[in-house]
């Protein structure tokens, strides 16, 4: 029997299926579509017993600039009881703890590689006023399961510029969950470029614990074949003056499936929150699928919160106009699609990185 803690708001916890004894089988430990938060991303169905990576640690590689340290520490999972977290705790071994001292500034990023299969637990702590670029590359192996948990702590005035590039194979199953605790005046800038996998869920959960937290959480997904990509986020604001901008855009071709779930939870003290959530998607085929669930839960009375969601096709009139000027159909489609998606990276300050992401995007469209 599955049991849930009745006082827990299970929708707000990733993969939360309650706490089980050790006797449960693997399929019972993974989130299923019966769980509201996973209804479009059924991990249990995609992960077979004995799948590569299910009971090993991921061969994580972390490259850091001078002044940043990485140590291995014992996992502390007291605060999290999700089943995927429990699996990671069981198999990932010690947590990689990345420590960025107060006031740190470097032109070199921290890079995380090696999330190819298996479980990983990583924590990243930015000291007061530290600025850091974090680049994560999700390059999963064929037929492998990857389950990573990243815990980020942003001290006051810390700024994290995070870039995620997912280039998994079409048979990789990936769940990457990030928890960000943001203290006063800290900022998260996050830009994700995702190409999906057999199943993938990239989830970001931010807790705004101090005043004037800023976050930009943008992403683009480009899916073909039977690929699946789920971008889920949960922004929980407990203090005033937060500024949140979220824009996720996607295109789906063939029989692929895109999922967007976004939630802003604005608690009573979080007055003067200014938050906007957008999800815009284009279906390039009528056999592809897009599921979207934007949510606002607001308890403060003096806030500006908005969400918008559009799903459509490429503009036929614009396509004809471009073809009339001599641009072949495939090229016209690629140009329009690129123009549609590229805007999510306008907020990426690192121009070299932005160009590199756009190159990957163009590569997919070509």
């Amino acid at each position: 029997m599955r049991c849930r803690n009745p006082i827990m708001d299970y929708r707000d916890k990733p993969g939360n299926e309650g706490v089980w004894g050790n006797a449960m089988t693997l399929s019972n430990q993974l989130p299923t579509r019966r769980n509201e938060a996973w209804k479009w991303t059924d991990v249990s169905r995609s992960v077979a017993e004995g799948i590569r990576g299910i009971s090993v640690a991921a061969p994580v590689q972390i490259f850091v600039p001078e002044g940043v340290t990485v140590t291995r520490v014992e996992a502390n999972n007291a605060a999290n009881d999700s089943s995927l977290y429990a699996l990671a705790t069981e198999h990932a071994g010690q947590t990689y703890a990345i420590d960025v001292p107060a006031g740190f500034l470097s032109e070199h990023p921290v890079q995380i590689e090696g999330l190819t299969h298996g479980h990983a637990q990583i924590s990243l702590s930015l000291g007061k006023g530290a600025r850091l670029q974090l680049v994560e590359h999700y390059d999963g192996q064929a037929g492998a399961f990857v389950n990573s948990h990243l815990n980020v702590k942003l001290a006051e005035y810390a700024v994290l510029d995070r870039v995620i590039v997912q280039t998994d194979t079409e048979t990789t199953v990936r769940v990457a969950t990030t928890y960000v605790t943001a203290w006063a005046n800290s900022e998260l800038m996050q830009h994700t470029l995702a190409f999906g996998g057999q199943l993938s869920r990239l989830e970001t959960r931010l807790a705004g614990m101090g005043k004037a937290v800023k976050a930009t959480i943008n992403g683009a997904y480009l899916l073909d074949g039977k690929r699946h990509c789920d971008m889920t986020s949960y922004i929980d604001l407990a203090c005033p003056d937060g500024l949140i901008r979220q824009s996720v855009k996607g295109v789906t071709a063939d029989k692929s499936r895109g999922v967007f779930q976004g939630k802003f939870h604005v608690r009573r003290p979080a007055q003067h929150t200014d938050a906007e959530m957008r999800h815009d998607a284009i279906m390039l085929s009528d056999t592809s699928e897009i599921r979207s669930k934007p949510e606002l839960e607001i308890y403060a009375d003096d806030v500006a919160c908005a969400h918008g969601n559009t799903i459509g096709a490429l503009d036929e009139s614009a396509l004809f106009y471009m073809r009339q000027r001599g641009i072949p159909l495939a090229q016209a489609r690629a140009l329009l699609t690129e123009a549609f998606l590229a805007s999510v990276f306008d907020t990426l300050e690192d121009e070299v990185m932005r160009e590199s992401l756009l190159d990957k995007l163009r590569g997919w469209l070509a």
């Binding site: 004809f320 073809r323 072949p328 090229q331 329009l336």
Partner: protein, 248 residues
């Protein structure tokens, strides 16, 4: 040059006939005007010539220099030299005007087996043309037609036309939305493109544009075909007398 023979075109999945036996011959070097009442099928003609979806050719032929146009994709027709100046030019968000035009120009050249135009030559040519058409240089940097006024969009059509140097030009209600000064600039541009090797079809509801671009022949499109034809003075008579005599 352009030969249209007994053209029948329907819309709404072939349910609604628009053109019912239109024949027209525009020889090389000539400018022909198509006038006619609203709803006569003037825009339909422009879209059929350029291959837009949704216009079903039931019967008839259209050839350009002997080549079957109806058999070609829109981009192939463009590469063969057919250019349509749109009545309502589209906005293309996110695609800078220069990127769009350079892509179009080089796609056409590639399709014709010609060498691509290099960036410096393209820039030089476009800057000179923009100045000639009195366009603000920043217009070329903005996404194509986004936030442009109606007049600016029409000017941008002429700019594209002069950059692409097509063989056969179809202008669909180019004068709408233009004030007198802009109309003169646009007409100067069009007149510059008049040449013994080029044909033009000017679709217009009003005679005004034809004061600036004087046509060789004027045709009335009504009841699905060419109802009457004449010389440039015929357009002036039409303006005075209206289309009632030709309407259904």
């Amino acid at each position: 040059m352009l030969k249209i023979n007994n053209l029948h075109v329907s819309v709404d999945d072939g349910q609604k006939p628009i053109l019912t036996g239109l024949s027209l011959d525009v020889p090389k070097g000539e400018v022909h005007a198509i006038m006619g009442p609203n709803g006569a099928g003037k825009s339909t003609l422009s879209y059929v010539l350029t291959g837009r979806d949704g216009y079903e050719v039931i019967d008839g032929t259209v050839t350009l220099d002997g080549e079957d146009l109806l058999d070609m994709e829109p981009e192939e027709r463009a590469a063969a030299g057919v250019f349509l100046s749109f009545q309502y030019p589209l906005e293309i968000p996110g695609v800078p005007t220069m990127t769009f035009l350079k892509t179009a120009l080089n796609a056409q050249r590639k399709a014709r087996g010609e060498e691509e135009m290099k960036a410096p030559e393209f820039l030089k040519k476009s800057r000179a043309l923009a100045a000639e058409l009195k366009m603000k240089p920043e217009m070329l940097k903005r996404p194509l037609n986004v936030g442009f006024s109606g007049g600016e969009k029409k000017r941008m059509e002429i700019f594209q036309m002069m950059m692409l140097e097509p063989n056969f030009i179809v202008m669909d209600e180019t004068d709408s939305g233009l004030d007198v000064d802009a109309l003169r600039i646009v007409a100067d541009g069009v007149n510059k493109l008049r040449s013994p090797d080029r044909g033009m079809l000017i679709i217009t509801h009003y005679q005004r544009l034809l004061d600036y671009i004087v046509p060789d022949r004027v045709h009335v499109l009504a009841k699905g075909g060419i109802a009457a034809s004449g010389d440039a003075d015929f357009a002036k008579r039409l303006e005075k007398e209206g289309y009632d005599a030709y309407a259904a």
